[in-house]
Point group: C2
Chain length 231, copies 2
DNA sequence: TCAAAAGTGTTATAGTTACACCCATGA
DNA sequence: TCATGGGTGTAACTATAACACTTTTGA
């Protein structure tokens, strides 16, 4: 025990931060939540929501803490994506950062704090980001594109009740590609995770679509089996 | 610039290590390379190959360094998998570790150093591991199972020239499931990344199989397009 | 009555699964 | 000549892709 402590004390130590890439969906666009950087050096640039990791805090908790502190929400989807370690990525010296992705429903969350000009930016057009945050955003976006095709993450970005058009718009925005409407519907109905609420869209200047909910419970009970080699 | 440095100096600092999960394939089994732990506390337990991250070293380089130091190889497949941060994962105090997966061809690498009883262990049966290394191994194994179905990583574990039986044994071992031989062959021939060397197995007590090479160049030129929602 | 999006089905193609026999080799 | 694994094809099934018209609503 003593030698373990001694060994650890001999290690170089590095400051650790977490950066949350918080995706949202609004106006048929994938958005990401950013603030103005705290640093004078980056005062005109946009920054991911980050903070250093507290002592004795597991990094997942740090990420939830950042979310809570910045947005007031904590019941959201959150997953570790990748650790970034370029020695010069922070102008103040070496800082290692662990990127987390979070997806949150813009409608269900009016931002309470607007410190540092916190607001949503279009993922496709954002530039001028602080640190290596653009690289982090790009990796998280690629991660999201892949993940959303394997897991039903997308529903975290939508209102609880949504139309199939909204769902398809979300997929088209994230994957940046048009899809066939009939095949899209067929696919999702075949999965059988959509609950027909019996409700319809309102206030739309055209025939209202049915509203559905995602059946998280049924999905949780089902085990996805991986199969098929494909590359 | 000054305020940036000041800010960073105010952060808590954490020792960082990398741990390499080095997979190999031998005797139709997936193996992992382990050593006896350095720590007295874990003297009967097996440990992944790790080391602390040097100052000003990007973590990918730390992982390559660990590989080189422990095995003498550096032209191998290596990828970051996940960062582990439980505050009590190391008995000497908080240590954060970044897990990397490496795949290396056992035949092409006779271990030069055998310090700390370095040797290959069967992934399926290993237990009694130091720290949280069993958890790390499990996550890396799950990662490998998924990855190998999407990318041709497996070839890094085989001799340069291999028979289709060896290739199938590898997939069956990693995915832990039997596959149909005819369909397996059809699949790989259809991909068209196998080069027929014109050579045959030798010293086998049955009809010798053809030996193939993987066409890394052709694969590199091809871009995989992701398509299809599936969960 | 018009504009706009909802809703719906079929056909062709590609991929996946399941399955059995003959062949080449060394012992 | 035997044991062992190599090598091969087909048929049923499932998933995917392409494609156009009618319906409902609000303005």
């Amino acid at each position: 025990m003593k030698d373990a402590r001694k060994l650890v004390e001999s290690y170089p130590r590095v400051p650790i931060t977490v950066d949350c890439v918080i995706f949202g969906f609004d106006e048929n666009e994938l958005k990401v939540l950013l603030i103005r950087s705290d640093l004078e050096l980056f005062k005109d640039k946009w920054s991911l929501l980050g903070d250093f990791a507290d002592d004795n805090e597991i990094l997942d908790d740090s990420a939830y803490r950042v979310l809570r502190e910045r947005t007031g929400m904590d019941d959201v989807y959150l997953e570790q994506v990748k650790t970034f370690s370029k020695p010069n990525r922070h102008p103040g010296g070496r800082v290692l950062t662990v990127a987390y992705c979070s997806l949150l429903n813009i409608e269900h969350h009016q931002l309470k704090k607007m410190d540092n000009e916190l607001h949503w930016h279009s993922v496709k057009t954002i530039k001028d980001m602080a640190f290596d945050h653009h690289e982090i955003l790009n990796e998280c976006y690629a991660w999201l594109q892949k993940r959303i095709q394997e897991h039903p993450l997308g529903f975290n970005l939508l209102p609880e009740k949504f139309s199939l058009r909204e769902l398809q718009n979300l997929y088209e925005a994230i994957l940046d590609r048009k899809m066939d409407r009939r095949n899209f519907r067929k696919k999702f109905f075949a999965m059988d995770f959509l609950i027909d609420t019996g409700l319809y869209e309102d206030d739309v200047p055209h025939r209202p679509g049915k509203l559905y909910q995602f059946d998280f419970k049924k999905y949780g009970d089902t085990k996805k089996k991986w199969s098929g080699i494909d590359f």
